[in-house]
Structure formats: C-alpha cells, structure tokens
Amino acid sequence: MRKALLIAITLALLATPAMSRVRHIVTDTIIPERIVVKSSLFGITLLNNLDTYLSNYNHKGLGINFSHENFRDARTGNYRWKYQTLFNATLGYATLGNNIQYTALISQSWSGYHPFKVAKGLTLLAGAQIQFEGGALYNPANGNNPAAAKLRTALAATGMVIYHFPVLRSEWIARYQVDIPLAGVMFAPEFGQSYYEIFGLGHAKGIISFTHPGNNPSWRHTLSLDIPMRIKRHSTTLRISYTADIYQSRINSIDCHIYRHTFALGFARTIFKIKRENRMNNHSPY
C-alpha cells in the first residue's frame, strides 16, 4: 500500500510540469496573438535645403537614408490599438555653385493608431504621434555661422491607409501614411543671432519657439509596397517605399525648408510573440 502511494506521488510530481504546460497552451489559445512587423530600409534621398540663417538660396543634392520601423499590436485596449516607432537618419550633401552644405538629421517618432476596417482588405488607421528630430545643416565655408542646428519635438496627427490585395496567389500590402505636426517646440535663434552669443556667451533667451502649422507647415508622406517572399512562411516581405518628408519653418524671419524625397528598399519581417503552434494562424497587424 505504501509502495503504491509512493508510486502515485512520484507520478503526480512528474506529471505536474506537463499538466502546467497543458494549462499554458490552453491559456495561450485564449490570449490574442501579438505580432510585430520590423522593417529596415536603405534609400537614396533627393535633397532640397534652404535655411536663410546660412544662405538665402536653395542647396540641392543627394543623401543616403536609413529607416527602421517597428509596427505592432498594442497590449492595451484589448489589442485594438496599433503602435509604431519609426527611426530615420539622413546624411546628405548639397551644393549651390561652389558652396557645399552637409545635412545630418535623425528623427524618431512614436505613434498610436486606432484601426477602422472599411472594406475587405482595406483598413484606415488614425492616431497621434510624438516626433523628435535633431541634426544640422553645415556650410563649412560660412565663418561664424557655419551651421544651423535643428532640434524640435512636436505632437502630430497621423493617418494610414492599408490595403491588402492578391497578386499571383500571394498577398501584397500597399500602405500610405501621412504625419502632420500640429504643435510643438523647436530651437530657433533670432534673425541675426550668432551661435557664439547663444553657446559662447550664454545669451540664450528666447531660443525656443512654439511651433504650429502656421509657422511650421510640415508633413511626411510615405507610400510603401510589401511584396511577400517565399521565406519562412511569408513572414518576410520585400518593401519598396517612397517618402516625401517636407519640413518647413518660418520663425524669427528665418525661412527654412528641408525637402527630402527618399526612395528606399529593404525587408520587413513579421515576428510572432507566441508559441510556434499558433503560427499557422498567420495574420499581420496590418
């Protein structure tokens, strides 16, 4: 009897992890899947820069661009929201006559969207975005004003249209995104203020300006196409994109525009944050 009891206890102990695994699987099937799409793109950028702090005339040139996007279902709100983080970096070289102007800009945005299914395969998303951008335009030939620093943050409205459509028995995804900054703050020296006064002497009063669409009419459009590749059960897609990043400001009588038209190519990879068995139930946060 005692022997039988020992065997029963041993079996029960051995069985516990297995039973707990079973419960876990059951639990997993209840929680909705959480899917993340990560993409990295490299591109060529056509630049058109104007900053009257440096020069009253447009400098045109080329640049290279890297962007990394993370688009995922949000845990909050019962997975009805989508989150996007987007990092972008541009290095460029523009000229006017013999003058050279270098461009170095990085930006990061955090967006939250609510999706609206409007038709089969067609989803609209609307939300809000926090933008941050830093960098500089640098004219080495300008003696005491060689650079115009760019530092800004803004709250933006953002929208997306996502369309799934079949092509040759696979599903392609076209996406259009628009971001429009509505209110924010930016570094803005006065009309003839030198950086020596600001950073050398500490005469930094009033160098932060409030921005709104009246003095900072900017927007960013992105059009992309995801083409599935026969790798890892469609979890990787080839992404082709075009981005028009139109940054403009008119503050303290200093006019600035940085027009970036970027043609980029890269890969987007879908990552499933659940167990392997559920991968068969394959869908995208798009």
Binding site: G97, G192, Q193, S194, E197, L201, I246
Partner: protein
C-alpha cells in the same frame, strides 16, 4: 469617424502648408546685384553709424550701381561692380568671395601711417626670442617683457599663456604688441585678456539683429570675462596698437582698456567691432557682412576704431635709425610709472 479624421488632416494640410521657399532672384547679373543689395539691406548692422560717420545712403548706392549691373554681361565685371558696391560701406568685415578672388575694403588701414615694421621689430626681438603658438616674446635688458601677438587666428591654450608668463616672471612690466593683428577668433582674444584680470569683469555689450529693418536690434546683453585658470599677470601692461589692429584684436583692446594697470599707446585701432556672418548669392558667391555689433561700457560702437590713451606715431627719424618710437614710448611710460611709485 475615420472619414472625419482624414478630412481634418487633409484640410489642415491644405490650409496651413504653403511653400516656404528662398528668395526669387535669378542667377543673372541683375539678379545677383539685387540679391546682394537686399542681403546687405536686411542684415548689415552699421547703417546708422555709417550714415552718421560718412553720410551713407544705401538706397542711393542701389541707384548708383544698378545701371552698371543692368548692362553687365560678364561675371568678372559683375564681381568688380558688386565689390565696389560693398566698398561703399567702408567696412573691412564686408567681403565678396568668388572663384576669382575676394573683394576687400582696405582703406581702414591703408590710408593711415603703418606705425609698424617687422625689420625694426627684429632690432628689439633679437634672435633669442621664444615662441608659443604664434606669440613671440622676449625680455628686454631693462627687465621689461615684450610679447608680439601677430594674430588671434591661433587657439591659445592656457598652457601656452601660462608658459609665456612664467618665462617673463622676472619682468616688472609687459609690453604687449598687437600691431598689425588683423583679428581671428574672439575666443582667443578673450583667453589672452583673461590672463590680465584677477576677478570677473564687465567690459561691454553685444547685440544682434532681430529683423530685416535697419534698426531692428536686440537689447544689448552684457559681456563678462572671467580670469584665466592659468597664470595671471597683474603687473603693468602697455598694449601697442596701430590702424591694422582689427576685428578680434579691436575686441581685445576694448577689453584691455577697461583694466587698471593697462595703457594703450600707438595709433587708433582699425575697428571692425561686429561679429561677421556669411551668406551667399544665387550664383554661389559668398558674402561676409557685419552682423552682431559689440558696444563698450558706455554703449558706444568701436566700429571705426579705438583711440589710444597716448597717441604715438613712429617718426621718420626713428624709422631711418631702426628705432620703434612706440616701443620706446612704452618703455618710458613704464620707467615713469616705477619712478613715480618709488617717489611715493
């Protein structure tokens, strides 16, 4: 709901997103002429002083040079026309730079006595002088230190200046010769000046343009200088100047004249009291112009020079003998100072 949001985004974009573009001057002779005239009109900071000093009328300058620009068909000729127009400002900080060269206004020092000769200076420096980051210095037989600062283009380190002052430590006074110093970095001028103070001083003001009007200026902000973290020289200093002392060197004199135990002797400085900024024309030519003026403690501009405490020119007799009248006068001033001190 989504339609409303998209409509709002679209309307916001249409309403608020006009294009912000550059100036609309074309890259022609006339376009570049108008662009340069307007650039100076909006950004140059000394119109009021130039009008008071020599009656400058910038609109009249436009009318004078426009017919020349209208008939100009050649870039070389345009460069001369634009360069001549800029010379009307009589400002050494205003230049036009193209592939052909740079236009300068030189009269701020060429119409005045040179008051400096490097040949004569050799008679004083000798061959055993020391040099640290462009500053040549030596000790005269009568225990007077002599340092020649040719330019403020070099970024002096505290170690450079400390070493120099350490090597001159036995001297009872220092002759600081900045003649022919055409400027360079204000920060270098301030670093050198900070070696001659023992506590923070207020020595002037700086302002900048806040708009395109001729009189749109910010309120003057005070300029302070903190003492050097390295060696400090608190004995008498005589600063030697001539008309070729310009820009950052003029700034240096503006600071030094506020210090006790410092005398400025020689000729007036050349001026150039504003920080110059750069811009470009539609054809890519670069323009430099005075933009951020500095003021002395009495809120006066020093754009046209700073008068010395004692005016001395090198005499033609001394010139022939290889004697530097200004250095000799500085030595006499130091001897007199110590003689008076002993009498007291």
């Amino acid at each position: 709901m989504p339609k409303k949001i998209l409509t709002y985004l679209f309307i916001t974009q249409i309403l608020f997103t006009g294009c912000i573009d550059g100036e609309e001057f074309d890259n022609s002779c006339n376009g570049n002429f108008e662009a340069l005239w307007q650039l100076i009109d909006e950004r140059y900071c000394f119109f009021a002083q130039a009008q008071e000093e020599f009656g400058l009328d910038w609109n009249a300058v436009h009318d004078k040079y426009k017919p020349m620009a209208d008939t100009c068909r050649d870039e070389l000729i345009l460069f001369d026309i634009l360069g001549d127009m800029l010379k009307e400002l009589r400002d050494g900080h205003v230049n036009l730079t193209s592939m052909f060269g740079t236009s300068y206004y030189w009269d701020w020092h060429l119409q005045h006595p040179m008051n400096f000769s490097d040949s004569i200076q050799r008679n004083y420096l000798g061959t055993n002088f020391r040099q640290t980051n462009g500053i040549k210095y030596t000790t005269f037989p009568d225990s007077i230190g002599y340092a020649y600062v040719e330019s403020f283009s070099n970024n002096f380190s505290i170690n450079n200046l400390t070493l120099m002052l350490y090597n001159l430590r036995e001297c009872k006074a220092l002759i600081l010769d900045i003649r022919n110093n055409g400027g360079g970095m204000i920060t270098s001028a301030e670093k050198l000046a900070s070696s001659f103070i023992n506590e923070e001083i207020h020595y002037g003001y700086m302002q900048h343009k806040t708009g395109k009007g001729h009189n749109d200026f910010s309120a003057p902000e005070p300029l302070y200088l903190e003492p050097s973290e390295g060696a400090r020289w608190l004995r008498p200093v005589v600063v030697l100047t001539n008309r070729s002392v310009y820009s950052a060197a003029n700034h240096f004199v503006m600071i030094m004249r506020e210090l006790p135990n410092v005398a400025i002797i020689g000729d007036s400085t050349g001026g150039g009291s504003a920080l110059p900024l750069n811009s470009t024309l539609p054809n890519g030519w670069r323009v430099r112009l005075s933009a951020c003026p500095t003021l002395d403690l009495k809120h006066q501009h020093t754009e046209f020079g700073i008068a010395p405490d004692i005016k001395v020119d090198i005499t033609s007799e001394d010139w022939e003998k290889g004697r530097d009248t200004i250095i000799e006068r500085a030595k006499t001033l130091i001897f007199d100072y110590y003689n008076k001190k002993e009498e007291q």
